[in-house]
Amino acid sequence: MSVDGTVAAPAATPARPIKNELLAQRVRSARIFLVPMIVALLIVAGWPLLRSIYFSFTDASLTNLYDHEWVGFANYLNWRTLESGRTIFRGTLVDPGWWNAVWNTVRFAVISVSLEAVFGMIVALVLNAEFRGRGIVRAAILIPWAIPTIVSARMWGWMLNDQFGILNDLFLRLGLISEKIAWTANAETAMTAVLIVDIWKTTPFMALLILAGLQMIPKDIYEAADIDGVHPVKQFFRITLPLVRPALMVAIIFRILDAMRIFDLIYVLTPNSSATETMSIVSRENLIEFDNFAYGSAQSTLLFLIIAAMTILYIWLGRVRLDGGDR
């Protein structure tokens, strides 16, 4: 795999004998250190992944998992020409339910990650300032991140409840809404509800990653900027932002990859709502509930491919940037 490739590469470069020996020894020990992780990954990730991909090319169903036939790309796309001359397309790639899920996922990922980045940056800037009790505040801000998603989803489910929810009560009293809203059940507000909870939950993580980046910036260049008469807002855009960008990018990529796979929060907070159905939700539905195991596997495989493509794109972009000598 790719791990093997990176290790083997330096060994392949011809070098003088002595250096070569040292290099070979390093490569050997690197391999030894990598073995446990690779084995673990192969067992818990590699095998299930290969199985899913395999099933996506069959007609397996949950009730009849081992009695299946190879059907090629039929689960992805197949067509039949009727006698009338009309061609009917079938498969995930022409399934409106799937494309709805793709759109939902992308929308969710883009909106949640952008807002998390903005809020995370603000929180990180506040935490980076010096004030009394900063340590406690830093710990406290992590609480939403530490709560298991199931718990926070349930908690928010109650807070967003149409009859007893505190949010409806608050908004009514403040006069922001005129009648109680079924936040999670209503197709128009379901996505908003999911976004609110996800942003609440994940902003701390984002803030912490950005904070780590902020703390790498030496204090004295801000003093130099003060002497240069640079306005604080300008200091942020011309100094802080460029310098924290690497950390910010890592955080954003992490979160995008994470958001593309979102499942637990939506499964608990807004089950069976087509307005919030994401790729993971849809494929699970097909895998388990609709007894369409092969079809669900095809969707899982597509999700995997999308995320893999994004990761590769990121690594490639990251390499380009490093060569540019940004930091």
């Binding site: 004295d220 003093e223 130099a224 002497i227 240069d228 008469g229 640079v230 300008k234 460029p242 930091r327």
Partner: protein, 334 residues
């Protein structure tokens, strides 16, 4: 061009008072050096002048105007930091131009000023590089260049040479001296704990100790007429010899101070003892003589020493060059 006046300046961090009432006038165009041991408050005092720290009490005047409340950029100062404090993501050119881009100034004017400063400091070849692609000495010159571009009335340096190696330190010291000469109208304040830097650069030196001024004067004044034991010990290298007890009693003083170059080796000297150590620097050498005082007496000799360790020699101070201090560490007039 500005003269500075510090009136009873005090600075506390929480309950700790770090600057404890400093009165000082720095004349327009003067090169003033703050020296003192580590932690005495030199940097803090400089940062108060720069406006990077708030003054707890007292008044700071630039040309007779109180500037306590002014932001650093409004004070017309420029500062060179010990750590350079260059913007790591900007090229050398941008580092120098950044402050000006914000002030009113056309692109042409900015360019002209940056190039002029770069020429002065011989950093033109590096204008397109990032700070991390420069050596320490080059970075420090960029930092100085950035300060020059600001065309400040007051130029502040906080130990600008302490991150450089010995040879580069001497070279950059010369450059700063030249800079002072070229910018004759600019007041400069320079912090260091290296007393050689202080002696060679300063028009006047201000010796600080525990947040108060110990003495202010020209390098020679401080060298020849130290107003306290502390200054006598701090200025000059090697350190002035201090003798107590009966050595000092003979001169009717509590402490007797003699610089190493004011001691002669003679056949029937006032003190005698064994040579315990010698340092040969080529042009001159230092002989450590154990005469029974608290610390070995250091004697300077021109050329290389002809007195091996273990030899007994006798020495005498040059009577006109001795320093006598009373019980409070103050100098005694004859």
């Amino acid at each position: 061009m500005a003269n500075l006046e510090l009136r009873n300046i005090r600075k506390s961090f929480g309950a700790v008072e770090v600057i404890r009432g400093v009165d000082l006038t720095v004349n327009s165009g003067e090169f003033m050096v703050f020296v003192g041991p580590s932690g005495c408050g030199k940097s803090t005092l400089l940062r108060l002048i720069a406006g990077l720290e708030n003054i707890t009490s007292g008044e700071l005047l630039f040309d007779g105007e109180v500037v306590n409340g002014l932001t650093p950029s409004k004070r017309g100062i420029a500062m060179v930091f010990q750590s350079y404090a260059l913007y790591p993501h900007m090229t050398v050119y941008d580092n120098m131009a950044f402050g000006m881009q914000l002030a009113k100034g056309t692109k042409e004017q900015i360019r002209e000023r940056v190039l002029k400063a770069a020429q002065l400091l011989q950093i033109e070849p590096y204008l397109d590089r990032l700070p991390k692609q420069l050596s320490g000495g080059q970075r420090q010159r960029v930092a100085i260049g950035r300060a020059i571009v600001r065309d400040p009335k007051v130029f502040l340096f906080d130990e600008p040479l302490s991150n450089l190696d010995a040879a580069l330190r001497v070279a950059t010291r010369l450059e700063i001296a030249k800079l002072h000469h070229d910018m004759a109208k600019t007041t400069m304040i320079y912090v260091t704990h290296d007393q050689v830097e202080a002696m060679t650069l300063a028009d006047r030196i201000c010796v600080l100790r525990d947040g108060v001024i110990e003495q202010v004067g020209t390098p020679l004044e401080l060298y020849e007429n130290p107003q306290s034991l502390f200054v006598a010990g701090f200025i000059g290298s090697p350190k002035m010899n201090f003798l107590n007890g009966e050595f000092a009693d003979a001169f009717r003083a509590t402490t007797l101070g003699v610089r190493s170059e004011h001691i002669r080796i003679t056949s029937d000297g006032r003190w005698s003892g064994e040579v315990v150590h010698t340092e040969n620097l080529g042009s001159d050498s230092y002989i450590y003589v154990e005469i029974g005082s608290d610390e070995p007496l250091i004697v300077r000799q021109e050329g290389t020493s002809r007195h091996p360790v273990g030899e007994r020699i006798s020495v005498s101070p040059v009577e006109s060059q001795i320093h006598r201090f009373d019980r409070d560490g103050r100098p005694m007039r004859v």
